[in-house]
C-alpha cells in the first residue's frame, strides 16, 4: 500500500525491467550475490541520556541512516524531515531515496548492518512477514507509549487514527508504522457523471445500471488494472466484507476452513463481480492492461469506474485533465449487506520500519516519533499531497485536491465503519493465488464457484504456515 505502494499495482514497467535486467544474467550468478553475509557486527553507538524529552536516549551528534521508497510521494518530504531531525539532535543524516528497496537493502539486512529507518514500500519492498520471521524488525511499541511531541501529556498511541497499530502488528508485535492513510473503493469523474446525468450508485444493481448506460454511450463500464489483479481483489473482498460483515473479513484473515467455501456471502460477492464480466460491461482490453494504462484510459473518459486506493489522484496527476473532478465512491452494496454503504476499507500504507540491528536504533525510534508530530505530518501532506495517520495531523491551511477531498469526506461519513484486510501482509502466497484466480475470473475463464474453490484452497494452504498461529485477529 502507499503512494506507489502495494506491489502489484505500482510497477513502473520501464524501471522494473531495467532493474530486472541487472539480476537476470545467469541465475546462478545472481544467487551468489544474495549469499548471506557473516555474523552480526557489534558496534555500540553512544547512548544519550534517557529523559522525558529524549525517551529513547538518542545520542547527540550521532549518525542517521535513512532509506525511503521514492515512489509517487517522491522523497522531498523525507529530506525535509532529516533536516529537521539533524537540526534538533545535531545528527548527520545520510539519505537514500530509491525504488529498489530489496536490491539495496537485502545484503545489508543479511550482513547485519541495516539502516536506521526504512520506508519499506513499492514493488520491490522486502516482505514484512519475511523480515519479521527473521527477527529483523525492532519493536516499535516504545514509540506508541512515548509522550507525543505536540502534547507531552498524551501518549503517541492516542494521536493515531484507529487501526494503525493493528495494521502494523505482526505476531502480536507492533513492528511497522504505516504512515499514509489510504481509503479504497471506486473512483469516477465528477465531470463525466454530470455531463451524462448519471448518479453515483449506492447499490450493486445501480452500479451495473450505470455501467450499462456507459456501454450504451460507447464507453466501458468498469476499468480495472488487469495485469495486477490486486485491484479487482479489493472490489471482491470489500463486497464480501460489506455483505457478510466484519466476521466474514476476519474469517479470511484468520484462515477459517469456511472463509470462502460454504460462505454464501462470499459466493454472492464473486458472482456480483462476475456479472460485470458476463454482461460485457468491462472496458475492452482492460484485463491485460497495466495500472497506468487502464488508469490513463479512465482519465480519458473511456470508462465510468475504476477501483483503486486514494493514492490514485497523486499517481495520475499528469494524466488527469484539469476539470476531471476525481471523486471517490465506496463499494456499492449487495442486497442484505451487514455493513452500511458508507463503510469503506481504510488503512494505513507506506510502512516505516526500524531494523532490530540498526546502528542507531534510538535515533530510528525518535525519528518515528517525530514523524507522528503535527509539524512533520504537515510537511508530508504538503510535499506528497496525502493524509497521514496522525489524527488532525494537517494544518487546516493546506488545500486538498478534489479526489483527496472526496476521500476525506467519505472517511468522515464512514465514521467508525472502516475495515481492513490483513491477509495481504500476512500471507503473500495466499494473496498471490487469489489474485491469479481473479485474473481468470475477469477473463471469463473460470466461474465464481471455481474462484471460491481456488481461494479456499489458498486459505487452506496458508493455514499450514507456522505464522498462522500468531497472526490471529479478533
Amino acid at each position: 500500500m502507499g503512494s506507489t505502494g502495494e506491489g502489484f499495482g505500482r510497477r513502473d514497467l520501464i524501471k522494473r525491467s531495467a532493474a530486472l535486467g541487472l539480476i537476470s544474467v545467469p541465475t546462478m550468478s545472481f544467487l551468489s550475490a544474495c549469499a548471506s553475509g557473516g555474523g552480526d557486527t557489534t558496534k555500540g553507538p553512544d547512548k544519550g541520556v534517557v529523559s522525558k524529552e529524549n525517551p529513547f536516549g538518542v545520542a547527540k551528534g550521532g549518525k542517521m541512516d535513512v532509506v525511503v521508497f521514492k515512489g509517487g510521494f517522491g522523497d522531498d518530504y523525507a529530506k525535509a524531515w532529516e533536516a529537521a531531525f539533524d537540526k534538533k539532535w545535531g545528527t548527520t543524516s545520510s539519505h537514500l531515496g530509491t525504488q529498489e528497496i530489496t536490491g539495496k537493502l537485502q545484503t545489508r539486512f543479511n550482513g547485519g548492518n541495516p539502516p536506521d529507518v526504512v520506508d519499506n514500500s513499492g514493488a520491490q519492498r522486502i516482505k514484512l512477514d519475511v523480515l519479521f520471521k527473521s527477527n529483523q524488525l525492532a519493536d516499535l511499541t516504545p514509540v506508541l507509549d512515548a509522550p507525543s511531541l505536540d502534547d507531552p501529556t498524551r501518549k503517541v498511541r492516542d494521536t493515531l487514527i484507529a487501526g494503525t497499530v493493528e495494521q502494523g502488528t505482526q505476531g502480536g508485535k507492533f513492528v511497522s508504522l504505516n504512515y499514509v492513510y489510504t481509503v479504497f473503493g471506486f473512483w469516477y469523474s465528477g465531470k463525466l457523471f454530470k455531463e451524462k446525468g448519471w448518479t453515483p450508485p449506492k447499490t450493486w444493481d445501480e452500479f451495473l445500471a450505470v455501467c450499462a448506460k456507459a456501454k450504451e454511450a460507447g464507453l466501458g463500464g468498469l476499468a480495472h488494472q488487469g495485469k495486477y489483479p490486486y485491484y479487482i481483489n479489493v472490489v471482491i473482498m470489500d463486497l464480501i466484507a460489506k455483505k457478510g460483515g466484519l466476521e466474514a473479513m476476519k474469517a479470511i484473515d484468520n484462515l477459517e476452513p469456511n472463509a470462502f467455501e460454504g460462505n454464501a456471502d462470499a459466493l454472492a460477492a464473486v458472482e456480483a463481480v462476475y456479472e460485470v464480466v458476463e454482461k460485457d460491461l468491462l472496458l475492452p482490453g482492460t484485463n491485460g492492461l497495466t495500472h497506468t494504462e487502464s488508469q490513463t484510459a479512465w482519465n480519458q473518459y473511456k470508462a465510468a469506474f475504476i477501483p483503486s486506493g486514494s493514492w490514485l489522484e497523486n499517481e495520475q496527476l499528469k494524466q488527469t485533465p484539469d476539470d476531471f473532478d476525481m471523486q471517490f465512491l465506496p463499494v456499492p452494496l449487495l442486497p442484505g449487506s451487514k455493513l452500511p454503504f458508507e463503510a469503506i476499507r481504510a488503512g494505513a500504507g507506506e510502512p516505516f520500519i526500524v531494523p532490530e540491528k540498526a546502528a542507531n536504533k534510538a535515533g530510528g525510534l525518535e525519528f518515528i516519533r517525530s514523524m507522528l508530530s503535527r509539524e512533520w505530518s504537515t510537511i508530508f501532506a504538503q510535499q506528497a499531497n496525502s493524509l497521514t495517520v496522525v489524527k488532525d495531523g494537517v494544518d487546516p491551511g493546506v488545500k486538498l485536491r478534489p479526489g483527496t477531498q472526496s476521500a476525506v469526506t467519505a472517511l468522515k461519513a464512514a465514521g467508525t465503519n472502516t475495515f481492513n484486510y490483513l491477509y495481504i501482509d500476512w500471507y503473500s502466497e495466499m494473496d498471490t493465488a487469489i489474485q491469479d484466480a481473479s485474473n481468470e475470473l475477469m477473463a471469463k475463464r473460470i466461474q465464481p464457484k471455481e474462484w471460491i474453490r481456488r481461494a479456499q484452497a489458498a486459505v487452506n494452504k496458508a493455514a499450514q504456515d507456522p505464522n498462522a498461529k500468531n497472526n490471529r485477529r479478533s
Binding site: 530486472l20 544474495c34 477473463a443
Partner: protein
C-alpha cells in the same frame, strides 16, 4: 639451454597467467555455486543470516510443486522452438544474403541489397531486452491501442469491443514471447552465419554451380555442412537463452515476477525469483537454482554430443 629448463620456464610463465584468473573464477563463480548448493538444504528466508538445515525437504517439495513443473515444461517447449526457429530463419536469411542471388557470370553473391539487409537485421540485437519488453508490450497491448490489435481492428478481423488480450491468453502467451525472442535473435545469428559463410572458399560454390547445383542443393550439400560448427554453438547458446527467459517473462506477463495468466507463461527463473524474493523461501529457491544449473549443463553436453559430426576441412 636444455629442453627441460626451457619447458619449466614456460610452465611458470603460463601458470603465472593462469593462477590469478583461476583464483578469481573459483571465488566468484565456483564458490557461489557451492554456496547455493548448501543453501538449497536450508530453510533460509533470504532476509536473515540464520537458518536451519532441512535436508532434502526442498527437493522433495520441488518434485510436488505443480507450478515449477509447469515452468519446467514451458522451458522445455521453448528449448525446442527457440533454437529451431531462430537457427532456421537465420540460416535461410544468411544464405539468401550471401549466396542466394542469381549467379552472375560464375560469381556467388547475395540477393540485391544484401549489404543493407545485414545491417538492418542486426538492429534488434542492439536493443536490450528491457527495451524490447516495453516495445513488444506496446505491440501486444490488450486494447485497441496495441499495434497488433489496432491493425487487426482496422482490417475488421477483430471486434473492437473484444480485442485479443495477447499476453493474457493462456494459449497465446508463450508463443507471443517466443516471437519476441526469435525476432531478437535472428539478426545476430544471421550475421554469425554470414561470417562463417564468407570464410567458405568461393571456388567450392563455383564448382557446385558449374556442376549444375541449384540453390537448395548448394545450401544443403555445401553451405550447411561447412557451417555446422557455428550452428552447433548457436544451438547451445539459444538453448541456454530458452532455459532463462527471465527478463521477458517477468516484465511482459502478469503476476509477481510474471508467469501469468495463471502460470501459463511461467519459466523456472520466474518461479525461482518469486519464491526467493517475494515468498521468502530462499532456500527453496536455491534448490530450484541447482536444478536449473544441472539441467542447463545436461543440455549443453547433450546438444554438443548430439550434433557432433565429422569435421570438414577446407
Amino acid at each position: 639451454m636444455s629442453q627441460v629448463v626451457q619447458g619449466r620456464g614456460r610452465t611458470g610463465f603460463i601458470a603465472g597467467f593462469l593462477l590469478a584468473p583461476l583464483a578469481l573464477y573459483l571465488t566468484f563463480v565456483i564458490w557461489p555455486y557451492v554456496q547455493t548448493f548448501g543453501y538449497s538444504f536450508t530453510n533460509w528466508t533470504g532476509q536473515s543470516p540464520t537458518f536451519d538445515f532441512v535436508g532434502v525437504d526442498n527437493y522433495s517439495a520441488l518434485m510436488k510443486d505443480e507450478v515449477f513443473r509447469g515452468a519446467l515444461w514451458n522451458n522445455l517447449l521453448l528449448l525446442v522452438f527457440v533454437p529451431a526457429v531462430t537457427i532456421l530463419l537465420a540460416l535461410f536469411f544468411a544464405f539468401m544474403v550471401n549466396a542466394g542471388g542469381r549467379g552472375g557470370a560464375g560469381g556467388v553473391q547475395g540477393v540485391a541489397g544484401s549489404r543493407l539487409y545485414k545491417v538492418v537485421y542486426f538492429f534488434p540485437q542492439v536493443l536490450s531486452l528491457a527495451i524490447l519488453a516495453v516495445l513488444f508490450g506496446a505491440v501486444y497491448r490488450s486494447d485497441e491501442g496495441g499495434l497488433l490489435n489496432g491493425a487487426l481492428i482496422r482490417l475488421g478481423l477483430v471486434d473492437r469491443l473484444h480485442p485479443v488480450e495477447w499476453l493474457n491468453e493462456p494459449n497465446l502467451v508463450l508463443w507471443c514471447l517466443l516471437l519476441v525472442v526469435v525476432w531478437h535473435g535472428v539478426g545476430f545469428y544471421l550475421v554469425l552465419f554470414s561470417a562463417a559463410m564468407q570464410s567458405i572458399p568461393k571456388d567450392i560454390y563455383e564448382a557446385a554451380l558449374l556442376d549444375g547445383a541449384g540453390r537448395a542443393q548448394t545450401f544443403f550439400k555445401v553451405t550447411l555442412p561447412l557451417l555446422w560448427d557455428s550452428v552447433q554453438t548457436s544451438a547451445v547458446y539459444l538453448g541456454i537463452a530458452a532455459m532463462d527467459m527471465f527478463v521477458l517473462v517477468s516484465t511482459m506477463t502478469s503476476g509477481q515476477f510474471g508467469g501469468g495468466p495463471d502460470h501459463h507463461s511461467e519459466v523456472m527463473a520466474t518461479v525461482l525469483m518469486r519464491n526467493f524474493l517475494y515468498f521468502g523461501k530462499s532456500g527453496y529457491a536455491c534448490a530450484m537454482g541447482v536444478v536449473m544449473l544441472v539441467l542447463t549443463m545436461i543440455l549443453s553436453v547433450v546438444t554438443l554430443r548430439a550434433t557432433r559430426r565429422e569435421r570438414i576441412e577446407f
